[in-house]
C-alpha cells in the first residue's frame, strides 16, 4: 500500500531504517515497500539517510598518517572508474571579410558565409568523431586496465578461480573471480547481468560460515558486463563462497535483495 502523506509512524520507521537499526525482517519489509514505489516513504528514508550521514561528524577529527594519502593516490591509479565524462571545449574562430569593391565585397561575404558554414559543419562532424574516438579510447583503456588487474591476479603464485553461476531471474548471468591469496585481492568479471534501475546496484559478498561481508558494489555496462577489484579483509580466513545480490543504490549492510550470482571457493 502506497502512502499519500507522511505520518509519525512513517517518519519513525524511516529514521530507524536509515540508521540501520531495524531488525532484518523489519528492514526487508520496509525495503519491499520502497520497491513497490512509495514515494512518501522513499523521501522520508532519503531525508533520514542525510541526517544519519551527518552523525559521523560527532567523531572528533582524526587525521590518518601521511602515508595513507600516498596509498590512496596509488590505489586510484590502479582503479578504473565506472564512468567518465569526456569534456570537449568547443572553439570557433571568427573571420572578417576581405575589403574590395561593393560587388566583390558582397561576393566575398557570401563566399565567406558559405565557407564558414562549411567549416562549421566540418568542425561539428570532426568534433563528433573526436568525441566518439575519445569514448572508444576510454573504453579500451578501461578494458585494458581491467585485463591488467586480471593478469596480475592470475600471475600470482597463490591464486584460485571462483566460478559464479546465475541464480533465479539472472540465470543467464555468469562471473569469474580470480582470488590472489598472496595479495589478498579479488578481481571479478561478470557478464550477462540484468539491467538495473538507477536506484539499484549489484553488491558482491564474501560468504563465510557465519557471516556475509560486503566486498563492494558495482554497476553493469550497457552490454551487461560488470567488474570489481577489491581487497579481502585479513580477518576473513574461512571464505566459503562468493555471492552477488541486487541491493538499493549505495549498497546494504547485509544482503537483502535477490541473489543473482553464486559460487563456492572450492
Amino acid at each position: 500500500m502506497k502512502h499519500d502523506r507522511t505520518t509519525q509512524e512513517i517518519s519513525g520507521l524511516a529514521s530507524m531504517a536509515a540508521l540501520g537499526a531495524l531488525e532484518h525482517d523489519e528492514w526487508s519489509a520496509f525495503k519491499a515497500h520502497l520497491d513497490e514505489g512509495c514515494e512518501v516513504c522513499r523521501r522520508e528514508f532519503e531525508a533520514f539517510q542525510e541526517v544519519t550521514g551527518e552523525i559521523g561528524l560527532v567523531a572528533p577529527a582524526i587525521p590518518a598518517r601521511p602515508k595513507v594519502r600516498d596509498q590512496v593516490l596509488e590505489s586510484i591509479r590502479l582503479t578504473p572508474q565506472d564512468h567518465r565524462v569526456v569534456r570537449i571545449d568547443h572553439f570557433i574562430r571568427r573571420s572578417s571579410p576581405a575589403a574590395g569593391s561593393r560587388v566583390a565585397r558582397w561576393g566575398a561575404i557570401a563566399a565567406m558565409l558559405i565557407l564558414t558554414f562549411a567549416a562549421v559543419l566540418l568542425f561539428v562532424q570532426s568534433q563528433r568523431e573526436l568525441r566518439r574516438l575519445q569514448t572508444q579510447t576510454f573504453e579500451l583503456q578501461k578494458q585494458l586496465e581491467r585485463q591488467r588487474e586480471v593478469l596480475r591476479a592470475l600471475a600470482s603464485p597463490d591464486h584460485i578461480t571462483i566460478k559464479l553461476t546465475g541464480q533465479g531471474p539472472a540465470s543467464e548471468a555468469r562471473a569469474q573471480i580470480v582470488w590472489d591469496r598472496q595479495a589478498g585481492r579479488w578481481v571479478m568479471e561478470a557478464h550477462n547481468l540484468p539491467q538495473l534501475s538507477h536506484q539499484q546496484t549489484f553488491q558482491l559478498w564474501f560468504v563465510t560460515k557465519d557471516a556475509k561481508v560486503s566486498a563492494g558494489t558495482f554497476m553493469a555496462d550497457g552490454s551487461g558486463s560488470g567488474f570489481l577489484a577489491t581487497g579481502v579483509p585479513k580477518e576473513l580466513t574461512d571464505i566459503a563462497a562468493a555471492a552477488v545480490s541486487i541491493e538499493p543504490a549505495g549498497g546494504a549492510p547485509q544482503p537483502s535483495g535477490a541473489i543473482c550470482l553464486l559460487g563456492a571457493t572450492s
Binding site: T52, L57, E235
Partner: protein, 199 residues
Amino acid sequence: MAASLSTKDSLAHEPDLAALIRRVAAGEETALAELYDRTSSLVHAVARRVLMDQSAAEEITIDVYTQVWRQAANYDESRGSVVSWLSTLARSRAIDRLRSTATHRQRSEALNEVIELVDPNHSPEELSSLSERRRIVQRAMSEITEEQREAIEVAFFQGLTHSEVANKLGQPLGTIKTRIRTGMLRLRELLAPLEEGTG
C-alpha cells in the same frame, strides 16, 4: 535551532565539494587528492570510532576514497551532501569490517570516554572546511536528551539494531525505539540548516 545567515555563509564551501566530486568523476586525480585533504579527517575518524583501531581505520579510509574514485559519476548531489555520503561510506565499510572479525574486539572504552584530540599539525584547509559543519552537528547532538544521544550513537558507531542497542544498554526495547525515533526526528529539525546551506 534556527538557521542563521552566518551558518549558511560558513557552509558556502560545501558546493565546492560537489564540484570536486564532478572533477573526480571526470578522472582528475588532483581533485581526488584535494577531496582527500579536505575530508579525510572525517572518514578516518568515523572508521576509527567504529573499529577502535588506527591501522584498520586507515585501510577503510583507502577503500572509501578508492570507492569514491570508482563511483564518483554515480554521486547525485540532489540526494545528499558530500559530507554525508563520505560519512555513510566510511561507516558502512567500517561496520562490515567490524562484523567480519571472528571475535569482535572488546570495546572497553565507553563511547563517552573516547576523547581524541585534533592533530595540531593537521591541514588548516581541512579543519576550516569541516569544523563549522562539525560544530553544528555536535551542537544538535547536545540539544537532544542524553538518553537519545546514547542510543543513536551506539546504533550508529556499533552498527546495532534497536534490539541489540536495548540489550547493550539494559533498557526495554520499546524505550530504545522511542529514544531513537524521537531523537532522530529532533536531529532532522536541528540539522535542517545544513541541508538548506548545502543544497
